[in-house]
């Protein structure tokens, strides 16, 4: 059976590119610390604006938006970026952080029950992103994948 040359070439390119996936190298980051609502509220009330991104390693959209959150965290150093890992295992969370949030300037916590975002009115789904003003008040809640213009606009709202 003869395959067209372009098909063989395409398969070669595909195999080469798939070998370029960014597998985490080196030691994994520490697992997120398990917290409750009281610790969460203390972290938010630090006197600076804050963004809380709720994520899980099993959540496909979270992988998609993680690089954007990482960029936002480096572009807005005055804003505290917090990752809240929900309903996840520490090992999977560490691998996710190493692969998708390696460049992010953010601190991660874990809420294995997933109660905190539900208590804040966001529901059980992920991803969710909360935006807090410097006085600790909740300025906005974004449910689902966040895009670049939306993230930039909400950051502009709280970072002033």
């Amino acid at each position: 059976m003869h395959y067209p040359r372009w098909l063989i070439g395409l398969a070669f390119v595909a195999m080469t590119l798939s070998a370029c996936s960014s597998e985490p190298t080196g030691p994994l980051p520490p697992a997120p610390t398990e917290i409750g609502r009281a610790t969460y509220d203390t972290a938010i009330a630090s006197g600076s604006p804050a963004v809380v991104n709720v994520w899980a390693s099993w959540c496909l959209p979270c992988r998609s938006e993680a690089p954007l959150i990482a960029v936002g965290s480096t572009r807005h150093p005055d804003v505290t970026f917090i990752g809240l890992n929900v309903k996840d295992s520490p090992g999977d969370a560490q691998e996710f952080m190493a692969r998708y949030l390696d460049d992010a300037d953010m601190v991660h916590f874990a809420d294995s029950s997933g109660r905190i975002p539900i208590d804040l009115g966001a529901g059980p789904g992920v991803p969710v992103t909360f935006f807090y003003a410097a006085d600790g008040s909740l300025a906005a809640t974004h449910r689902g994948i966040i895009d670049e213009p939306t993230l930039a606009r909400f950051l502009d709202e709280i970072d002033r």
Partner: protein
């Protein structure tokens, strides 16, 4: 995919269809064998696909190891990639009569872009930088008044679409001039509104400037050649 994006896509498709029909009734593309509706939609889908791939690659996500993420267009579509992809698909589909096809579809493509930008009303993504102008809008729960920058873009593109369509009907422009002017209008509107947009990295302003210059060059060359 979120429903708000589907709503924006529906508005864009509706605007494209309306402009195609309006122009067709006035003899647009009478000698053009290409089905503009099919070609336009295929080019748009191809553009979104290529734009999504560009966006994933620039974010360090490998589409071959994470193919499911190609569908998550909400997390980003590169404007440069989408433009290149849409042009490539359309150029392939209309390769037998490229200039005629490009001129025929130009106002409808601008109308579709206007519809896409107006779709911000469905996605709640209209607002840009701060303003004190009377027509400024605010985010829910905010006191900051902002430019409805996507509405500006939609109005600019709609006016350009209508202007080029009327020029085609009444002015008998030379071949490739409507396409060139439409390209310049699309790039020019984005370039003009870019300072009012909020973004993390800034938009591809060089790309828009090149598009504006290229479009104007095509239009001017076509008119100079027609006069000589």
């Amino acid at each position: 995919m979120e429903f708000s994006l589907l709503a924006a896509a529906a508005i864009a498709t509706g605007a494209f269809w309306l402009m195609l029909r309006w122009e067709a009734k006035r003899g647009n593309a009478a000698g053009c064998a290409l089905n503009l509706w099919d070609a336009g939609l295929t080019a748009a889908i191809g553009g979104v696909f290529v734009g999504r791939l560009f966006s994933m690659l620039s974010a360090g996500i490998n589409p071959l190891t994470d193919p499911g993420q190609i569908l998550l267009v909400r997390s980003g579509v590169s404007t440069v990639g989408a433009t290149v992809g849409a042009f490539a698909v359309f150029a392939f589909l209309g390769r037998r009569e490229l200039v005629t096809s490009a001129d025929a579809i130009a106002p409808s493509a601008l109308a579709a872009l206007a519809g896409w930008h107006a779709g911000c009303l469905a996605t709640s993504g209209c607002l840009g930088t701060e303003t004190t102008l009377a027509w400024g809008m605010t985010l829910e729960g905010s006191s900051i008044t902002r430019h409805p920058v996507e509405v500006y873009a939609a109005i600019g593109l709609a006016l350009a679409a209508a202007g080029i369509a009327l020029w085609k009907q009444h002015g008998r422009p030379p071949a490739s001039a409507p396409f060139g002017l439409a390209l310049a209008a699309a790039a020019g509107v984005r370039l003009a509104t870019e300072p009012m947009r909020i973004s993390l990295d800034g938009g591809p302003t060089v790309f828009y400037a090149v598009g504006l210059a290229l479009g104007l060059a095509i239009a001017v060359l076509a008119m100079v050649r027609a006069r000589s």
